[in-house]
Amino acid sequence: MNFSIYDFTSFINWIDNSLNSYMSPGWAILVELVILGLVFIAFYAVIGLYLVLAERKVCALIQNRFGPNRVGPIGMFQTIADLIKLLMKELIYIKHADTFLFNIAPFIVIIASFMAIAALPFAKGLHAIDLNIGIFYMIAVSSLGVIGILISGWSSNNKYSLIGAIRSGAQVISYELSVGLALLSIVIFSGTLQLSGIVESQANGWWIIKGHIPAIISFIIFLTTCTAETNRGPFDLAEAESELTAGFHTEYSGIKFAFFFLAEYMNMFILAALAATVFLGGWMPFHIAGWEGMNNVMDYIPPVIWFFGKTVVVILIIMWFKWTFPRIRIDQILTLEWKYLLPLNLMNIVLIAFIVLMGWYIK
């Protein structure tokens, strides 16, 4: 077997074949699912913890501070220490809370983000499930998390939580439209809903370059709306520390709070990865048609690095938003969506349809 870090298909097939040769197909699938689950849980923990650390470092640098710098070199293990602390904290029982819903809410939030991560293509052949309606699935699943937020706010028996949850509901339902439409623009360009197909279609250039102006407009709209989707600043009305203490997760403590916290960062990662996949070519190296020498050099860098590199860039931009802009009011959020982003998005879609029809993009 020859494995390469450029194409994981053979590696995945090898695992599949060897499992099938040891056991019946049903057991093989079960074992594969368990392996996949463990890999994703480990991935989730590492990425989540280091995103929190990265956020704190970025925020510190923007505010002219050092940020965490005590636990380990340059604070490397700070968030791990925080996690251990949270694991040991008491889970406080809330009087008159709806215990069942209260306990289930963090799991809904985290399961929603788990489901979304399954469809992401990390490299050629390296994705858990390659749905032919990948984008549709991502949009559907990424908005499931808001149910968890609504439930947590409703069941906490706390006015602040309820206000936070309702705000979050209004916000996510509105911005869901723009996320979908922004992604739709690239679907029009590439002509497929399958994420691997969209990546393949960018072999001769990323859509943000090939699709020029309308793709850039879509990209900006997508970045704005996914900041809102993940309830991050400047759209963090659902938490709004200064008004609602902590919004929907005011009453949560210990590891349940950590779940919400991790899910927020994982959602950011997933949407950033989606932006990177759809607009910036995913794991596809940077290619310019005709420049063979440069294309070969770019091909030399493994696709996983391309994927994570682009995702990190998008995440940095989202963090940059959060630490630059002040939080906006609920009416301003709805105005922004319904009066500006949505009409612009619709106009953009019509423009793209026209451009594709006339063939005015780089093919």
Binding site: L61, I62, N64, R65, F66, W323, T324, F325, L344
Partner: protein, 164 residues
Amino acid sequence: MNVIFNYFGDVFGAIKSLWAGMCVTGYYFIHPGQIVTQKYPENRRKLVMFERFKGEVIMPHDENNQHACTGCGICEINCPNGSIEIISKKITNPEGKPERIIDKHIYHLSMCTFCGLCIKNCPAKAIVWGQQFEHAVFNRHKLTRVLNLPRSSMKKKTKESKKL
């Protein structure tokens, strides 16, 4: 037509002003040299506090172990927290007249909110802000201090010091 112009004017104006804000934070992000916070225990040796820093109330003594406190008790009256206790005593001075001097100027650092009213109101300017701030102790009784040093005496006012 005007409405459409205004609409797009709003959009581009907003993007422009948001971009201006992002430039500022982006500049700080890529210039770590601009960091203004200090790493405290590492820089402890060369740490210089600001002149206005309120660390604790102290009573300066000169080289003859003399301070300026007359024991008037104004600081005690002014303290909103009752952090100051003045114990004065009456003595007969060399000229044979009775005189009030300070026996103990007791300062409870644990109760002080660093409001500065005592220092502001002291007519003799006998107490000032010290810059020491590492006050952590294991026993809170250690935070109760007698500000006038043992065997210290009051500085007699000269012409110059009265002018101040």
